[in-house]
Symmetry: C2
Subunit: 628 residues, 2 copies
């Protein structure tokens, strides 16, 4: 690797420049796996004061972890914003955002380091997931020196024909921007371009760093110009940080759209707000909250929009709406509405009950990050960053709007059951809301049973929900939990991190539990042990052997990952097993368990074909659509 050169006082190494930029943007953890083309850069990480290296057990896991980290950081910054608006709300998690508090927008960034070819390609699925779900993750790849690249040497970690653009190409449809650094002159500006693109679009970006550019000098002065997307600045200002003035035409267009919406609003008797994924990702939860509070209407969330703002019935939360697969009482009240303001909607199959919204387009207003849709009219360049505050001022409060069912958020729906009976999905999820969750928790749910089950759990104030409903890659949740745990450590108040996964899903990425153990993190890992891929069985192949999986001894997992070694002293762990409802209740009410002061496994045995009602409905809808 190229050796560090002399630096003048006003210079930093390019490698350090990249890390300083990450630190400015609130990134304190760099996920990844070492490889011979990124080792000297890792020396710079080791000595960096703000960015910490998190070595993962493989690259796919690292990409998932970076994604989970970014999501929770974004949520914590959103919550800080909420805190700003409504002072001293109890139980609200505060992160040490510092000056970040003055800005909304996309601020939760994740970062991932891999090595050429073998490393970067292993992460591709995780990057694609971040792209689909709008999570900005920077994928930095350590590659061979520009000189070796030019020689087209048959290096290991290549396809044998020199280092071509094949690996960059594999990232082309799943990142918003790519830079293949080749020369000193534009390396720093390319880094800035990549970071700005990721924050602007809330999507991952790709960057290669050749070994001979790690130690080139960069003028420190560049760091004084912050990287802020225009959309953030739009929120309240007339002049953007780039110096660009917000044009009169833009303001006139905005006023026009506000008037159009005002007209519909005044004619509506029972309007609601429906919060979705992009409200979280683009950091406008606090603006949506202002709108709800100003207009006194009820708000609902989609599965992907959960915890965009506190799910507090006292402040207008009405429940989770998923079309056909909604709780019937929630469905009824939502579908009575005559005007639905959708904020940041992402209408994927699993997020909409297989496209089963019954609203006519004339009842719908959609607020997006880059455009607005009012009935049939499309307004490009009118983003929710500017529109939400304007609407909060313009729209008059409504009284007498429909009231959602009382059980939402109150966990009164835990079904009766015998202490000795096997735990059912029907009982399990309400029990989580009633007996496990508390304010400030981070709840990570896996694709499959857990993502559907959690729809039946109340989430207290300050909760952050993490799930991958659109991309739906099984195995995501466990490494995402690692990322969430590390993000939670950056919160100013302690937060518990709770994973819900199944034995079918966690097997894909199980080794990342070892990283949690190594780092002394303290998640509660709830494993629904039901012997196989339940969600697949419900879609097709109920008893087919291809939906079977190996049989893991969940009670011994933590000890397998916790052996003494020259550089490691085993840490306290605890594994719990619930085979009956009574056992589960005992664990949930156990102080040691609730305290979450060590890493814990809670294995819950369930019947293989037992599933949440919503998943059963979804499975049928999916099978029908596939057969159509």
């Amino acid at each position: 690797m190229s050796k560090p050169g002399q630096l003048a006082d006003n210079e930093v190494y390019l490698g350090t420049y990249f890390l300083d930029r990450l630190a400015q943007l609130g990134v304190k953890c760099l996920f990844g796996v070492p490889g011979d083309f990124n080792l000297t850069f890792l020396d710079l990480v080791e000595e960096h004061p703000d960015v910490k290296w998190i070595g993962n057990t493989n690259e796919l896991n690292a990409s998932y972890a970076a994604d989970g980290y970014a999501r929770v950081k974004q949520a914590q910054l959103n919550q800080d914003r909420e805190g700003d608006q409504a002072d001293s709300k109890p139980g609200q998690a505060k992160s040490g955002g510092g000056k970040d508090k003055t800005q909304g927008g996309v601020r939760g960034l994740g970062a991932l380091l891999t090595t050429q070819g073998v490393g970067e390609l292993s992460a591709v699925n995780g990057i694609a997931g971040a792209y689909a779900e709008r999570v900005p993750v920077i994928h930095l790849v350590g590659v061979a020196s520009t000189k070796l690249q030019k020689s087209r040497a048959v290096l290991h970690h290549t396809l044998g024909d020199g280092l071509t653009n094949v690996f960059e190409q594999a990232h082309s449809g799943i990142t918003c921007a790519r830079a293949f650094l080749q020369k000193a002159e534009d390396a720093a500006s390319e880094i800035d371009r990549i970071l700005l693109a990721a924050l602007t679009t809330a999507r991952p970006a790709y960057l290669t760093l050749p070994t001979d550019l790690v130690f080139i000098p960069v003028d420190k002065k560049r760091l004084e110009t912050p990287i802020i997307p225009d959309s953030v600045a739009f929120e309240n200002k007339d002049v953007l940080p780039t110096g660009k003035k917000v044009e009169d035409e833009t303001k006139k267009r905005l006023e026009f759209v506000v008037k159009e919406i005002e007209r519909l609003w005044e004619g509506a008797e029972d309007p609601i707000v429906l919060l979705d994924a992009c409200a979280i990702r683009y950091g406008v939860g606090h603006l949506a909250r202002d709108l709800v509070q100003a207009t006194k209407v009820k708000f609902y969330t989609t599965p992907m929009g959960r915890t965009a703002i506190d799910e507090d019935p006292e402040n207008g939360f009405g429940g989770v709406y998923v079309g056909e697969i909604s709780d019937p009482e929630v469905k009824e009240v939502v579908e009575k509405s005559d005007l639905v303001i959708m904020v940041g909607s992402l209408k994927s199959d699993f997020n909409t009950g297989e496209f089963s919204y019954p609203f006519s387009q004339e009842q719908v207003i959609e607020l997006h990050s880059d455009s607005t849709l009012v009935q049939y009219a499309h307004y490009p360049d009118v983003s929710f960053h500017m529109l939400l505050p304007a609407l909060a001022k313009a729209l008059k409060p409504k009284s007498n709007v429909s009231q959602p069912p009382k059980h939402v958020g109150l966990s009164t729906k835990v079904p009766e059951g015998d202490k000795d009976e096997m735990v059912t999905q029907k009982a399990f999820w309400p029990m989580m809301g009633a007996q496990l969750f508390k304010e400030g928790d981070i709840v990570v749910t896996e694709t499959g049973t857990s993502n559907f089950g959690i729809l039946g759990s109340a989430l207290p104030k300050g909760t952050t929900s993490v799930s991958q409903v659109l991309w739906g890659s099984i195995g995501f949740a466990n490494p995402a939990t690692l990322g969430a745990l590390l993000a939670a450590e950056e919160s100013s108040t302690p937060r518990r991190t709770i994973l819900f996964t199944g034995d079918g899903s966690i097997q894909l990425t199980i080794q990342e539990v070892a990283t949690m153990v190594r780092l002394g993190l303290k998640p509660i890992l709830v494993i629904l042990n039901n012997n196989g891929y339940t969600i697949e069985k419900l879609i097709h192949g109920e008893t087919a052997s291809y939906n079977n999986i190996p049989s893991f001894d969940w009670q011994s997992m933590l000890s397998f990952f916790n052996a003494p070694a020259p550089n490691f002293k085993p840490l306290p762990t605890k594994s719990w097993l619930a085979e009956t409802r009574g056992q589960l209740e005992d664990i949930l009410t156990n102080d040691e368990f609730q305290k979450a002061d060590k890493i814990q496994v809670l294995e819950v045995r369930m019947a293989p074909l037992d599933a949440p009602e919503s998943l059963i409905k979804q499975g049928k809808l999916s099978a029908e659509l596939n057969a159509a």
Copy 2:
């Protein structure tokens, strides 16, 4: 999913057609992970008489396993060919190749099934490895119905913008051919095109199968035309199976090249043959063997060429040659040669001692699958399939060629040592050759310590060596062992499968051990436990914390993956621990261990910075090249 339609007697479903084609080509195992877009196809797999479903624990592992399976199948077919030439050699592993025995060429094929987006992208690194290392693996992806594709529905497992060609694009530089099936008319011919391309180029290919095409009818008659690459047919015939006559021009060109080589051969005093990767991959080991036997010269192998033919010193084997990092005595004798016939060479950094061959181009003849190089002259379209048999006839035997060192293959170099000392790398690898390996073993080694260490182990007749020297993706070896185990089950004689990996590498893909347990397979898993990434430490960051890893309790791994379950009864397992040389010797000589009648772990504790001599040399050469 679309329902099965009525079939006429002369028809099969398209899904079955694909499986029948695989079966014809000797593929009896389909690796992969179920997903909702491949479930109905899996129904056809379940009922197929010849192709068995191997559910893996994740898709990357599945791709590695398919690769390992293909390599061992190819080796077994090569060995059958050797058996044909030299009858009844003891200890030669025979696979039930049947009529395959009449053909060389690329015949070891692997196959992998994933689901759209999330599944296929997880496998990309494994597919790229197969591409780099010339292993034909068919990647079949179950995707949404053509109707859903056209509707651009926001389905789960998409990027949210409909099913675009992004995932195919991610495969474009790492597969030799791709087919995105869209209509019934050409689906079967597209399948044939893909399979032929993979066999012709010895590289992976990509194919999508929409749910609504699984059950379309295909005329059975198509199956009567076998899929055989031209290169195989070239070997001995004047007319290709396609009906194409081998042209006179081709024969004249071949004769010209043979004469050129003959001229050089006659002037050479001390020629050698150097066997490399592509001799194995393109199935010409038996032809190279005929050449060596006919000419009486010595042959050597590169790391990637190991076990292309039996490494039997009595039949001319002289040792493993890796340029600068070779055994000094082997290096000396190889570099004395005045004419080197390289068969299937793949001159990557780790395969050549960092490009340290000292031969001048005037001393070199290179025989490839698609061309020949004689000194500076390049002859396209002269493949080793036709050239090797011609040379075996034309070249006159040499007497008095240089003799390689006596220790090669005889394992007399096991260094002396005290029973109570820690096991050293220096002692370990010769001990494996002397005390563990026996005829017919499959030896899988991981990138890093093991790939270099194995250079110091003698491999008995009939051994198959599996490693990934060019692509070098850590984590490959463990799932590849699963593939090897399943391929070995198709051999007509029992074969043991032995994995050598490190604690740093196996963590990436550790869950695949669970599949071995589930299927009742019986590998010997040798884990070199040295607390971290030794190969990285030797390249850079000897004591840096980024080269540390979690600490696993290897003695409890098998029990973690072997829990009782409703559909699984735990199987016998055995875990061994060697902390000293004496303990290791006791285990190696223990009958229970040697018998390999259950899955076994052998954990060997080693010092973190102890490494094979060849790896130490390679580490220095790599660091120098990176710094240049």
